[in-house]
Amino acid sequence: MPQEQKPAEPTSTFQAKAGLPASPQPLEVHPATTDIKPWDLDNVAGFEHVGKPRPRIEGPLKVTGKAKYTFDIKLPGMLYGRMIGAAVPAAEILSIDTSQAEALAGVKAVWTTDSRVVRFAGQDVAAVAAVSPDVARDAARLVKVSYKERPFTHELREAMKPDAPRVFNLDRMPSGRDLGRNGNLAGPRPSRSNRGDVEKGFAEAEVVHEGTYYCPVHTHSPLETHGVVASWEGEQLTIYASTQALFAVREGVSEALGIDRKNVRVICDHMGGGFGSKLGPSATGSAFSVVACRLAKQAGAPVKLMLDRHQEHLCTGNAPSALMKVKLGAKKDGTLTAALYQSWGSAGVAGGAGTSGPAGALHGKNPNFKAEEWDVFTNAGPSAPLRAPGHSQGAFGLESAIDELAEKLGIDPLELRKKNEASPVRMAQYDVGAKAIGWERRNRKAGDMATGRLGAALGPRKRGLGMANGNWYVFASENSNAQVRVHRDGSVELITGCQDIGTGYRTAMMVVAAEELGIEPGDVALRLGDTQFPEGPGSGGSVTTNSMAPVVRLAANQARGKLFELAAPLLGAKPEELDAAHGKIFLASDKTKVVGFKQAAAKMSGESIEVLVKRPKQYETFRGDIAGTQFAEVEVDVETGVVRVVKMVSVNDCGLPVNPLTTQSQVLGAMIQGASWALFENRVLDRNVGTMVNPNLEMYKILAPADMFEAESILTPVANMGNNTSTAGIGEPPIVPTLAAVANAVFNATSARVRELPMTPDRVLQALSEARRA
């Protein structure tokens, strides 16, 4: 949740400016005494590097195949491991016979589970390590598992039925110990955003809309599957991990193996995608990291254990499905009087399938709000956070309902949202986005292109415009540390353990350090992705940049202070009178009094200046959340039911973007992933056998080049003031509105309301036939 605490200890106070560049608001901010004056809107014009588009530093390695990912690591004598997952969704394991596998030439180690209860297909059962991937696959086939199968339930709505097979005994349910339980349900869990009195609000309403919406399970499907390379040298364990959280791997593996953290080193240089599924020691539905370490110990050789694509779909997490009932009440002029939001979600065998975040945060002028959420257990792999967990589903339900309410009221959906908007940032974003998409072209009457200016229908292909809002939060981790080392020769190292998951993080950190030190970003040698370096946060919740940038800046600032002390006597000035830029240190009042960065460094006693600092506390923010809104233009073939996105515009607040080029890449990517969920993605479990029907990348369809549309990112930077760089995370927020924006555009094009995703032709044609009947 948004963090707005003021530190308890004495503070220094700064006047800063925050808000939109056009109308900055003065703000008194209270950072910790150890912190430095924040960058705010006044700084932007003077930045040498911050805020300038810059190609990512690791780009040349990645485009030439030289970047080494975990999957690419090869150590001398390395063996290849392979996990073996349960073949059935619910069972008791009677026996696991590994004798044939062990007898196979080339097999060097075997592991079997102690657990005897299977609750989802793909759950860890056994593993092997062998001299080649092919021999490991042969050995896996020779492991004989005997099951006593049990009844299972594969899908949310089936699992909610009173007579559905139980996934857990009531006392074994993994979530919501204080919640009511009934069959496979745990809940209701009330929302922290509940306010007012919804009964009263609905009594005051002149128009009421009720709708039910459904989102299926999506899998993360990072292109690099989960996996590790584990290598022992005596007691010392080195793990190369494809992870978003190096230090969580160290902690989890050392705990599971009962060894000291000091003996475990985890390394990740480049990482092939995670989207939230790689935040734990292994994965939510597997302990493969620990298993790989055990296999390596047993074999006396390094073991590479990467999951295959089928396993990746089954046991490494997913986004929960959600069944959402939304009831909205409003006055005839569009003023919301009440919102009741109920959600049933299935995270498989795990809890945490809530989706009420957007409903609680959006349309903040509505005085009466109530949300209730239930977890529904199914015999399927546990979920994992997936890019703004629960928020895309929740925004699909809520923002589809708002669109339906607008239709009922006869009000432009954009005007309805403005009427109930509490965020000054989003209020400013509406017109920016509307202009970019050409909102005035929309069909005034849904399905009738004669009432808009989107052109004439091309045969059966009809166009429409839609929009939706999203919200996210300012999270930050104070467990963020950075070291700056300036050598006597003037060369600079920035050392932080935190991993780079491909967001542009490493380039951003070099820019921040260079800005503060007055040198070029390329002159900062960045060491990262190694638990031997100072500890950093896991990359989840859009925290990495805004956790690490402030501590990197602070470390660079302190190193700069020490250099100024060396330079001051050379310039006959006091350290506090100096400034630095372009590799030079000079008098702030007289830039002709100058000394080189290297000249100053040469004066140090000893071989280096080293500064190691911990992140200052998060302090009061301009506003708690991250605002965003999106607009979509789609084309629907009303004869085939095929939906094509033509264009999307995402308008996002992102604090001060350190590197707009990579920031916008993330926005575009989130929007594209969201469109993929809206149109294509659906994990299908077979109702007869409970295993996944499409555990690959051709039947689990992901948006591909041929489906691509024109995508535009517009940033509305807001100096955020929660940290000394005013940075905020942007990885997650832009995927929140996308599903609803596309669905609302389909409605505008056709007057068909698709309330169940993905919007495959069958569902669109069904919605079209319902619309014709109505």
């Binding site: 190609p55 990512r56 780009g59 040349p60 390695l61 990645k62 485009v63 030439t64 195949g65 030289k66 970047a67 080494k68 990912y69 999957f71 690419d72 090869k74 044939q100 196979l104 030439a105 080339g106 001299v131 080649s132 991937p133 092919d134 021999v135 042969d138 086939r141 020779l142 990072p222 292109l223 690099e224 599957t225 480049h270 990482m271 092939g272 995608g273 990467m306 295959d308 694509r309 998951i501 491909g502 542009g504 080029l661 990579t662 890449s665 993330q666 575009l668 990517g669 989130a670 594209i672 992933q673 690959n696 990348l697 051709e698 992901i702 948006l703 591909a704 080049p705 041929a706 691509m708």
Partner: protein, 218 residues
């Protein structure tokens, strides 16, 4: 009962088996792993390889690179595990994602769907053969410039597919670019910028004298 594959060291010098010795050593159930020699080998050697490791002389990025692998090993695994050419990535391992794309005699193929033995006698070009960090091809440089990558795991496949596209269609339209890259997927959602990079690289190609038409350039 499954066949017992030999340790990789066995049969290192064997480049071929007679059909009789093959059946004797492997048992008939191993027939699924036999392959028919391809290209030049088909004329020079017996038609059946394996099941033990065989030495293959692959031509990769302009050099002859011998590898000793079981005949069932894919070109992708041979490149990655034997030659440390890890630019081509294993992602779906069934031809559905394009991440393992390499050029075979200039044409893009899924290296997860081709046996290494079948690549003998052909020229294999991997992403490493297209450029180096110090000397990137125009397309690679355009990928960096346009930020047409995030995690980068799909990127080598896109670079190889894009290279093949530009060789065939030096100035592609947007639709031709989409068609040329249709076999590749990116989970980070970098498509738009990939299209821009291909267009930018096309514009910088030296072969693009203004007077030339696309058909003349082909």
């Amino acid at each position: 009962m499954a066949r017992r594959p030999p340790p990789p060291d066995e049969g290192r010098e064997q480049t071929s088996f007679s059909r009789r010795s093959f059946l004797k050593s492997a048992g008939v159930s191993a027939a699924a792993t036999t392959i028919v020699g391809a290209g030049e080998r088909a004329e020079a050697a017996p038609a059946v390889l394996g099941p033990n490791a065989v030495t293959l002389n692959l031509r990769v990025n302009g050099a002859v690179r011998p590898v000793t692998v079981e005949p069932r090993v894919t070109l992708l695994d041979a490149l990655r595990n034997e030659l440390d050419l890890t630019g081509a990535k294993p992602v779906c391992e069934r031809g559905g994602c394009g991440a393992c794309t390499v050029l075979l005699d200039g044409a893009p193929i899924a290296s997860c769907l081709l046996l290494a033995a079948d690549a003998e006698g052909h020229e294999v070009t991997t992403v490493e053969g297209i450029g180096t960090p110090e000397k990137m091809s125009p397309l690679q440089a355009a990928f960096v410039e346009k930020d047409a990558l995030q995690c980068g795991f799909c990127t080598p496949g896109f670079v190889v597919a894009g290279t093949a596209l530009l060789a065939k269609t030096p100035r592609p339209t947007l639709d031709q670019i989409k068609a040329g890259l249709a076999g590749n997927i990116c989970r980070c959602g970098t498509y738009g910028r990939i299209f821009e990079a291909v267009q930018a690289a096309a514009a910088t190609r030296p072969s693009q004298a203004p007077s030339q038409t696309p058909s003349q350039r082909r």
